[in-house]
Symmetry: C2
Subunit: 134 residues, 2 copies
């Protein structure tokens, strides 16, 4: 069993965030006799999943709705619709981000080529199969 401070460190979030997740119905903890929270090992991955979903623009409420579906791997009709709509929203967001990325890259490359370095490969051709047409 993991204590809240250790979970926070291992999952890369704050203690406050973990209590907030519990408040939102996302994370459950057993309590010791004195009321301290104890988490199973699996909580680390679960919290990382929350971070991933938050980063993708899902709200606490949406995550709470989808959690039983993701856990049990048996989405009902309502949850599936929500899943699909969120997935499609993320799809559109990816497309928008690619367009913005290409636009920034065009500005960067407009007067200097020296900024190119191998740690950031060009992905436009990989994702669209077409050269940039800004």
């Amino acid at each position: 069993m993991i204590r809240i401070g250790d979970l926070a460190t291992r999952a890369g979030v704050s203690v406050r965030a973990l209590r907030y997740y519990e408040e939102q119905g996302l994370l459950y903890a057993t309590r010791s006799a004195s009321g301290q929270r104890h988490y199973p090992e699996a909580a680390v991955d679960r919290v990382r999943l929350f971070q991933q979903l938050y980063a993708a623009g899902l709200s606490s409420r949406t995550i709470a709705t989808l959690l039983p579906c993701v856990d049990a791997n048996e989405p009902d009709e309502e949850s599936t619709a929500l899943l699909v709509s969120e997935r499609d929203r993320i799809d559109r967001q990816i497309e928008d981000l690619i367009a913005t990325r290409d636009r920034l890259t065009a500005v960067i490359g407009s007067s200097k080529q020296e900024c190119r370095h191998p740690s950031v490969p060009q992905k436009t051709s990989r994702t669209t199969g077409q050269p940039a047409h800004v």
Copy 2:
């Protein structure tokens, strides 16, 4: 010359947003004798650019810093560094979103295939060249 209400409609934002952009130093308007704002045609595209950059996670301050650079197409050293760091951040965000999208798609497809419809093509293979490996 366009009035603020028309610009808002044509650019797809609120009047309040336009005044906010001006407050942040992003958008300038000439004023009539009575103080009403008038915008040139180019303001429509400019406002749409703001929306695109906001959607990519840039703040008003960052946009304000990069604007002269993007306008003049002659980035100085500092602006270029900021441009590159924002571009790289967007790159990482795209990667994260693709991973999340694939994860949601996997959950969707885990027990039902009927959800597949042609308006949302699979893009994983186009972007990674590999099948999903959740």
